[in-house]
Structures are given as C-alpha cells and as structure tokens.
C-alpha cells in the first residue's frame, strides 16, 4: 500500500523528501549513488590540487583555486543530502577508507602536465555536467536541489578547462603537443565515466523506475560525445579514436569500443592512482583528528 503510494508519487513527478516513506532499496540505492558522487568531488580535488602551486599565471592560479574550492563545496552539498537519508558523514568516510565505497574512476589517473587541467575541466566536468543536468530532475528532493545548485556553479568549470585547451592548442608548438597529449590520455577515461553499457548495468532498471536516474549510461555517453567532438575540432585537436565517425542516419557519432578490461580494473582498485588517492584522504583525516577533537572539547566546555 505504502509502496503503491510511493510509486504513484514518483510517476507523478513529485519529490520524495527525507521524512517520506520509501522502500529500503530506494534508500540504499540513493545512499550509494549520492555518496559515490560526493566522494568523487572530494577525491577529484587531489589531481587538480596537484597543479595549484604550479599554475602558470596569477589568473590561472586564482581560477583553479576557486574551482577546486567549488569541488569541496559540491562534496559538502552532496554529503549533506546523503545525511538526510539516515547515514552520517563519518560512516561514509569509513566506507571510503575501507574501500567499500566507490568514486568516479577518472580521478584514479594522474595529472602529468598543466594541459591536464584543461582536459579535466573540459572533458571530466563536461561529462559530469551531462550527467548532472539530467539529475536535476531526480526524484529525491535534497538530491535534486543539490544538483540544481551544483549545475549553476559547474559551467564555469567546463569553460575554464576548454579555455586552457583552446589557448594551448593555438599557442606554441610545445603547448599544442601538451594539449593533444592530455586529450589523448583523458579521452577514454572520460567516456568511461558514464559507466558500463546499459546491458551490463544491473541497477539501471530500478534506478529508472524510481526516477533516481533520468537517462541511461549509454544515452548520456552518446550525448557527451556528440557535444564534445565539435568542440575538439574547433580548436584543432584530434580525438584519439580511429573509429569515430558521424552517422547521418542516427544523427550521432559512432565511436570505438571502450577497453572494458581497463574500466573494470580501475573501478576495482587497480588503477594508477587508486592507492595514492585513498592514502592521501586517510592521512588528511588522521592528521586532522586532534583538531576535530579540540573543537569538540572546546564546545563542550562552553555548554557545561
């Protein structure tokens, strides 16, 4: 009976709020999805933060610092939304540290040159935007409101990245090579961000029925590719996919097969930076323990 009312609400495009009844599966799916999203924002601070001290101009430094700060903020909005489902940030942190929680696998790749800042902003934030715009209509209220706020802030991120790539692609010979190299390394991991094929994604069914997800992995991936290819061509960079071809009939690009072995390896912990990212996060958390304890102790003294 409750389940029927719940599904009726979903079908009528109404929002589910924290105090509403929801199936346990809906709650646990959301916790997993929102926390994964939050963890991604936070872990993503590392590869980008890697270049703040080496940004090549005052303006570039300011923009990158502001961007990474935004990522922290986005993580916080999402943890905040997740906590409304009855789980604490501490528990979510524990899950991350124990390897029980996932985050976007793109951040398990290293940032090796300044051009990577361009590639990440353009491709990774670009892919995230495609996903997030769709999620603005997700059925869970706090998640939907979080996504609307994030989308408003995200578009400068993509522009920042594309601007870097564009300047470099039209700059010196070394800059152009650096930009192309970054695109070569980040293209496939970016389209892998959309996850496995729909046919290999067991949770898609429920996610679509409960309107947690509004478009499927493959739909979003196609969307992203169609938008991005033209952007690359405009600045004179080449997408590293020999099978990329415009398909007039579909009105979309055909593209090559993703290396699913690499995908699953990186998702399952065997990527170049997985261990490093996690250890960094754990260390920051442990190093800060004495500070958090002090804040709590001080507050308790004031209350007594």
């Amino acid at each position: 009976m409750q389940e029927q009312l719940f599904q009726k609400k979903i079908d009528a495009e109404q929002k589910i709020e924290p105090k509403d009844w929801m199936p346990e599966g809906y709650r646990s799916h959301l916790i997993r999805q929102i926390s994964q999203h939050a963890h991604s924002e936070i872990i993503g601070m590392q590869p980008e933060g890697n270049w703040i001290t080496r940004a090549p101009s005052l303006r570039a430094k300011m923009i990158l610092l502001a961007k990474v700060q935004d990522e922290a903020g986005h993580g916080l909005y999402l943890y905040s939304a997740c906590e409304t489902l009855g789980i604490s940030r501490n528990e979510l942190n524990c899950q991350l540290h124990q390897g029980k929680a996932k985050y976007s696998s793109i951040f398990n790749y290293p940032t090796l040159s300044w051009a990577d800042m361009g590639a990440i902003g353009w491709l990774v934030d670009g892919a995230a935007i495609v996903n997030q715009v769709s999620l603005q209509k997700t059925s869970y209220g706090p998640y939907s409101r979080g996504m609307i706020k994030i989308c408003k802030e995200e578009s400068f991120h993509q522009r920042q990245g594309y601007e870097i790539m564009s300047e470099m692609a039209n700059g010196t010979k070394e800059q152009k090579e650096m930009a192309q190299d970054a695109l070569n390394r980040f293209w496939w991991p970016s389209i892998m961000m959309f996850g496995p094929h729909d046919s290999d994604s067991p949770r898609t069914g429920n996610a679509m029925k409960w309107k947690i997800k509004r478009k499927t992995n493959d739909e979003l991936r196609q969307d992203f590719i169609d938008k991005t290819v033209a952007q690359a061509e405009l600045i004179g960079l080449k997408i590293p996919d020999p099978d990329l071809k415009w398909n007039e009939e579909r009105g979309s690009y055909d593209f090559g097969e993703i290396d699913w072995d690499e995908f699953w390896d990186v998702v399952n912990g065997k990527g170049p930076c997985n261990e490093q990212r996690l250890n960094h996060h754990i260390k920051a958390h442990e190093d800060g323990e004495w500070v958090r304890k002090a804040a709590k102790a001080y507050a308790e003294k004031q209350n007594s």
Partner: protein
C-alpha cells in the same frame, strides 16, 4: 566521534525571507556561522545567515499532511479570486 549538524537558512537580499539551503558540520555556533558563510555564500548569495542545530528543528510528518493541510484546500473563500467584482470597479 560525530560532528554536530546545523541547518542553514540564507536571506539572499534584504526584505526577503530566509530560505533553507542545506546543512553544515560545526561544533559551536561561531564556527557554524563561518562554515555556512564559506559554503553557501561564495557567490554573493547572502545578506544574512541563520544556523540552527538540526536537533532543534521540529517537523510535521507526512502522516499529518492530510489533517494539517487538506482542510485549508476547500476554503476557497479565503482567496480573493472567489469573489465577483462589478465591472469597472477599481482599487479593490
């Protein structure tokens, strides 16, 4: 060790009502205000911030929805559009 959660309400412009925007973690009210400002007003979205410990928020529950809110639904005479005004009447 769990941090304390605070709900954040922002008044974006003088004259408008405060709006709920989400929550933050902090141990005392001074840090709560600062954290809320850093998280929710980076783009100049605020002129006043309220923070309230989440435990102090009292909420109606969905079960109450019918008895709390439906009765106001059928009292259409509370809305000005219910009334027929003579043609040509002004300032009313």
């Amino acid at each position: 060790m769990e941090a304390t959660i605070w709900e954040v309400f922002i008044q974006s412009k003088n004259g408008l009502a405060h709006k709920h925007v989400g929550n933050i973690h902090a141990e005392d009210k001074e840090m709560a205000l600062q954290n809320a400002r850093d998280l929710y007003t980076r783009r100049n979205e605020g002129s006043c911030i309220w923070v309230v410990k989440s435990e102090y928020i009292v909420s109606s529950v969905p079960e109450d929805e019918e008895s709390f809110f439906d009765p106001s639904n059928d009292k259409v005479y509370r809305h000005p559009t219910f009334y027929k005004m003579p043609d040509g009447s002004k300032h009313i």
